[in-house]
Symmetry: C2
Subunit: 607 residues, 2 copies
C-alpha cells in the first residue's frame, strides 16, 4: 500500500498516528541537520520533518524538487502552525523514506507565476498541468460538467451518445474527414455538432436528450479557437421557446450555485436582437453596466420605427457627422476630468485598424458645470447639452461620439463600450450576469452570391407568424441593392442565444419539424431537391413518420468554464489544447504517416 | 404550452382535472361512434376517449398510427381498469384535439416483436429507436453511465477530457486518420484509447482520472464489433493491483445495484490466467456453473508443475488419444441419458469448422449404475470409471472428451462447455458473476516475426519479481522452436481483466513509470531508439520529471450494457450503430466528398 492518507487530510485529530504518505517533493528547506519537506499531491500539502536522528539522512540529501517519494512517520502537532493550509496544524516526523522516482529539473518552475512561456508550457503540458492555477481550472471544468449533468438528470434528460464517424453535413464550417479503408474512395466526417442526430432522437420519442460531447470544425484558427471543442448539447420535444429559456437559465443558475456558490435569484433578462444591436451595438452585450448607446443618426431601413435624433447634430455644418451614415454617442460617469492625454489615447485606440474609426468626438460634462468638447466650434453649449441629455449623461460624465458607416461604427461603439468598462474596472470576474437574446433574423444576406444564408442553421424554424412569409415568397433577390426590402429580410427566427458577461455561451432554436417547411428552407438557401435528398434525406424522411415539435440549445463548455474561472482564454481550461496552427506541440501532431497506411486507405498525397 | 403532464403520470388523484397531453397515436380502437386512442410518449401510455358528442369527430377519423397530436380534456376514472400500466386507472375524456404532425405508415411495425429485418431497422433507425425494447436498452445504457459516474465521483475520480485529434500511436490495431488541411501532408489519428494521456495526467498529479469516452479502431469488423466504441476509462496513482481490483469490483457492484437492483455481496473471485486456461480453457470463463476441464493429457511445457493424468488414457492403445497432444474431458450432470441422436448432434457440433475437432468421445454414467462409452472397446469399465472420477463425474453425468492439438482442443473444450451450458439453461441472463483474471503473460510470441509482442500493451509493467528477468536478458529468440524456454516467455504482467458471465468487460494493468524500464520494454518489442523518441518521446520525457507509480483499467461500455441488458448483441445498445462494413446505412456514410475538399486537404484518391 502506497499511502494510508492523502497529503490533504491529516489534521490535529490524527496526532500520534502512524501514517504513510506518497507524493511529490514540493519545497525543501534545510535548517542545519533538520530538513523540512513540503509533500504535495492532488489533495494538498503536508509538512514532513526529517530530524537529525533520522536513519536515512544521506538519502534525504539526494532529494530534489518534484521527486516522487513515499514516507512513513508519526503525525505530531506543529509548534509553528500555518492557518493558510488545511494540514497546517500538523507535521509528520518521518521514520522511513522511499524514493519512488527521481525527477530532473523542470524546464520551468511549477508555481502560480511560472517562468514558462506559452510554447514551453504547451510542450511540457504534463508539467504545466501540475500548476495550481491550471489544476483549479481542470477541477472547475469537472464541477461544471457534473453540475450540468446533475441538473439535466433531475429534469429527466437522458444522455445518449451519437456517432463520431458520420456523413458530411455542411453547417457553415469545414468538416474534418476520415478516409474509409473498407469503403474505397469514401470518407466519414467528424461532427460539427450532433444536430441532426438529436433531432432524430426527438422523432424517436426520447423527449429530453443531452450529451456533453466533442465537436470538430476545420476552420482557420483565430486566437482562442480550437479545432475540437466541447458542447453541452440538449434537445427537448413538445416545447416552445419559453420552455427552453426557463429550463436552461435554471441550468446556468444551478451551475453558478454549485460551482461558484452564487445564488442567482433575479430573473434572466430577455432582449430582442434588434434591441441589443440598437442599445449595445452587438448581439452579446455585457449588461453588468450601463453606457447604453445613443443613436444620434442611423440609416432609416436598419431600425424601422425608432426615434430620430439626427436634428441634434445636423444643424451645425459639422461635416464629419453630416457625411456619416451613423453617429453614436456613449456616456461614461466619472470621466469628465480626463486629461488631453487620456482622450488622445482613446482616440488612438478607436483609430486602430481592428476598430477602424477615423477619429472620435468627446464632450466633457465637467464637475464645475461647464461643458467642454472637441467640437466646441461647431456646436453651441445648448446643442452639446441637448446631445448630452439624449445620451443620458450627468455632470461628471465623459461623452464619446463615433461616426462612420453603420456596421463599422456600431461595432466600434460596442468595442469602445467594453474597452472603457475594462479601464473603469466595471467588468469584474466574480460578477455574473446572464441574458437571453431572442428574435434573430432567420436569414443573412450573402452579397457575394446575392442569396440568403441561414443565420443559425438550416434547421431553425421561423417565428410562427412569419412562416407564411417564407412559404408565399420566392427567395430570389431581384435587386441586390435593395435586399433589405425583400420579404425574407424581415423574417425572424425562433432562435435564442444565452449571453454571460458579454460572451455568447450558448445558442439554439425551435426546429422545423415538417418536411414541407424544411424543404422550403433548403430551397431558400439554394439547396436543390437532389442535394436535399442526398445530404439530408434521412432527416426529411424522419419528418414524415410523426415528428414532434422540438427545439434545443448547445452551450460551449470551454468558453463557459473560462468565464466562470475568470479568464479570457479557453486554452487553460482544456487539459491538452492545440495551438493556433491546430498542432499539439507536446505530441508533435499532426504528423506524416506511412505510405503503407495511405495505400490501405486508397489515398495519396497531392504532388 | 404543449402539455401539462406526460403520458406516464396521470393517476386516480388527478380525476376531474383539466389537462393537456402531447404524444404519438399508439393504437386506435373504434367502438361504434366512440374512439379510444392510446397516446404514447417516453414516459408511458394514456388512454384517450373521444365520445360520440366530441365536436371534432371528423378530425378523429383522420388519425393514423404514429400521428403526433395534442389533446386537452378531463381526467376520469376508468370503468375497465388496466393494472399493467401506471396510468391504467384513468382515461382522458377529450374536449380538444390538434394534429401536430401526420405520419405515413412505418416500413415496419413499432412493436416489441417487429416485422422489420435488420437492414430495414438500421435504415429507419429513428423508428426502430421508438420500439420499447430498444428504448429500454438506451435507458439502461444511461443508467450504467450515470451509476459509473456517481461511483467514481464518490471515490474522488475526476472526469478529464482528452483530445480526439492526436498522434498515431500504434496499439495493435489500425488507426483512423484525419488529414490536416493546415499542416500539409500530415495526419491526425483518432485515439484507440486515451492510454498515454491518462498516464500523463498521473504524471501531472491528477491522482484519479476517469472518462466515458469514444475510441476508434479501424479493424475488419467481425460480428458485434464497431469501429467506434465507448470505454469507461480510468487511471489511479500510488496504487498496487489490489487497490485497483477492489476499487473497480466495487464499481461493478454499484452498477449492479443501481441498474439491476442486485445486492452483489460475495467477494469477487480472482483467478490466475494459468488457472483459467487450465480449468476453463480460456481466459474469460463463465464461472456461474461448473463443468471444469479435466486435463487428461497436455504438453508438459504449457502447464509446468500440474498433475499428470495421462496414465488414465495411455494404456488402451486408443490411437486418437495416444496421438493427440491434448486430451480434455468435461462432465455434464443430468445428461447421461442423452440419446444417440443427441450425442451425434454434439459430435457434429464440435466438428464444425469454427470448432475444428475431428470427433468426440463420450462416457455415460447411466442412472442404473452402468457406464457406457463410445470407446467401450478400448477402455475397460474400471478405466472408464477412473476417467470419470478424474472428471469429477457423478452417476447421471455425461462426460465429453476432446482430443487434438493443445491450442485448438483447449479452445474447443471451452466452447463446448458454453454450448452445453446454453443447452442446459445454465446461462441465465438475470444471474451475474464477476471474476478477475490476473497474472497474464507479459509477452506473446509472434511466430511470423520470431519476436515478442505485448499481450496487453507496451505500457504494462511486468510483475515486480520479474523485472530483473526482463532487464537482464536479451529479447532475441535464438531457437524459434524452443521460444517457450526463453526467459521472456515466463515473465508475468501486472495486468488484470474483469470477466462478467464469460465476457471480458474490462482490462487494465499497473503501468511502467520509469523511463529505463519503458525503454527496455520498447526494445523487447523491437522498437528502436529513434522510433521510441519519434512516437513516444513525450511519454518517455514525462517519466523523467517525477512520474508516480500508477495503473488503470478500461471497461467496454457497449458490451457491459449488452450483458446487463441480457443480450448477446451490442448493436441494440448503441443509438446509431454501424453495420459490419462500417457503414451507417441511415446516413449513407461514409460517402464520396468533393474534389475541392480533397484539394484543400492536399490529398487525392489513388488511381
Amino acid at each position: 500500500m502506497f499511502r494510508t492518507h492523502t497529503c490533504g487530510e491529516l489534521c490535529i485529530s490524527h496526532v500520534s498516528q502512524k501514517i504513510t504518505l506518497s507524493g511529490w517533493v514540493h519545497i525543501i528547506r534545510k535548517f542545519g541537520a533538520i530538513t523540512f519537506v513540503d509533500l504535495r499531491d492532488r489533495y494538498g500539502i503536508t509538512q514532513l520533518i526529517f530530524e537529525e536522528s533520522f536513519s536515512q539522512a544521506a538519502l534525504v540529501d539526494t532529494l530534489g524538487r518534484e521527486f516522487v517519494i513515499q514516507i512513513s512517520g508519526c503525525v505530531r502537532e506543529r509548534s509553528n502552525k500555518n492557518p493558510a493550509i488545511a494540514t497546517g496544524e500538523i507535521e509528520i516526523l518521518v521514520s522511513q523514506l522511499t524514493i519512488l522516482n527521481k525527477a530532473v529539473t523542470p524546464p520551468f518552475t511549477i508555481q502560480d507565476d511560472t517562468d514558462g512561456g506559452d510554447d514551453l508550457r504547451m510542450k511540457y503540458r504534463y508539467l504545466d498541468l501540475r500548476r495550481n492555477q491550471i489544476k483549479k481550472n481542470i477541477e472547475l471544468r469537472y464541477a461544471v460538467n457534473r453540475a450540468a449533468r446533475n441538473y439535466l438528470h433531475a429534469q429527466q434528460f437522458i444522455d445518449i451518445e451519437t456517432p463520431f464517424l458520420i456523413k458530411s453535413t455542411p453547417e457553415g464550417a469545414r468538416d474534418f474527414v476520415v478516409p474509409s479503408r473498407m469503403n474505397e474512395g469514401q470518407f466519414y466526417a467528424l461532427p460539427q455538432s450532433p444536430q441532426t442526430f438529436k433531432q432524430l432522437l426527438m422523432v424517436s420519442g426520447y423527449d429530453k436528450y443531452f450529451q456533453i460531447v466533442k465537436c470538430f470544425r476545420d476552420e482557420d484558427l483565430r486566437a482562442d479557437r480550437q479545432p475540437e471543442f466541447t458542447q453541452i448539447d440538449c434537445e427537448m420535444s413538445f416545447v416552445e421557446q419559453e420552455d427552453i429559456l426557463l429550463t436552461f437559465e435554471n441550468m446556468l443558475k444551478h451551475i453558478l450555485k454549485e460551482v461558484k456558490h452564487i445564488d442567482y435569484l433575479e430573473k434572466v433578462e430577455r432582449m430582442s436582437w434588434a434591441n441589443a444591436m440598437w442599445s449595445y451595438g452587438n448581439d452579446k452585450p455585457d449588461t453588468r453596466f450601463g453606457a447604453i448607446l445613443c443613436n444620434l443618426k442611423y440609416p432609416a431601413h436598419t431600425f424601422p420605427g425608432r426615434p430620430d435624433l439626427s436634428n441634434l447634430i445636423s444643424e451645425a455644418a459639422f461635416k464629419v457627422f453630416d457625411e456619416a451614415e451613423t453617429v453614436i454617442s456613449l456616456s461614461f460617469p466619472g470621466c469628465s476630468e480626463y486629461s488631453r492625454k487620456q482622450t488622445d489615447e482613446l482616440t488612438e485606440w478607436v483609430k486602430r485598424p481592428q476598430i477602424g474609426m477615423q477619429g472620435m468626438v468627446f464632450i466633457k460634462m465637467n464637475t464645475d458645470g461647464s461643458i467642454k468638447s472637441s467640437v466646441d466650434k461647431f456646436y453651441s453649449a445648448a446643442q452639446l447639452k441637448a446631445i448630452a441629455e439624449a445620451t443620458n449623461a450627468q455632470i461628471g460624465d465623459l461623452i464619446l461620439i463615433l461616426a462612420g458607416s453603420e456596421e463599422r461604427t456600431r461595432k466600434a461603439a460596442a468595442e469602445l463600450r467594453l474597452y472603457m468598462a475594462d479601464r473603469l474596472g466595471w467588468r469584474k470576474s466574480n460578477e455574473f450576469k446572464l441574458l437571453w437574446i431572442t428574435d434573430f433574423p432567420l436569414f443573412e444576406y450573402d452579397a457575394e452570391g446575392n442569396r440568403w444564408v441561414a443565420r443559425h442553421h438550416p434547421f431553425t424554424a421561423p417565428k410562427p407568424e412569419h412562416v407564411n412569409t417564407m412559404i408565399n415568397h420566392s427567395p430570389k433577390i431581384e435587386d441586390a441593392a435593395r435586399y433589405l426590402e425583400h420579404p425574407f429580410a424581415s423574417i425572424l427566427a425562433n432562435a435564442y442565444d444565452m449571453v454571460l458577461n458579454g460572451n455568447e455561451i450558448g445558442g439554439g432554436s425551435i426546429r422545423i419539424f415538417q418536411r414541407t417547411l424544411q424543404e422550403k428552407m433548403f430551397e431558400a438557401l439554394g439547396i436543390d431537391k437532389e442535394e436535399q435528398v442526398q445530404k439530408f434525406g434521412f432527416l426529411l424522411g424522419a419528418f414524415e413518420y410523426g415528428a414532434p415539435p422540438h427545439g434545443g440549445i448547445a452551450f460551449g463548455l470551454d468558453r463557459l468554464c473560462a468565464i466562470l474561472g475568470g479568464s479570457e482564454s479557453i486554452r487553460d481550461f482544456i487539459a491538452f489544447p492545440k495551438n493556433n496552427s491546430g498542432r499539439d506541440v507536446m505530441l508533435d501532431a499532426p504528423s506524416a504517416i506511412e505510405n503503407t497506411q495511405l495505400n490501405e486507405l486508397n489515398i495519396q498525397l497531392k504532388k
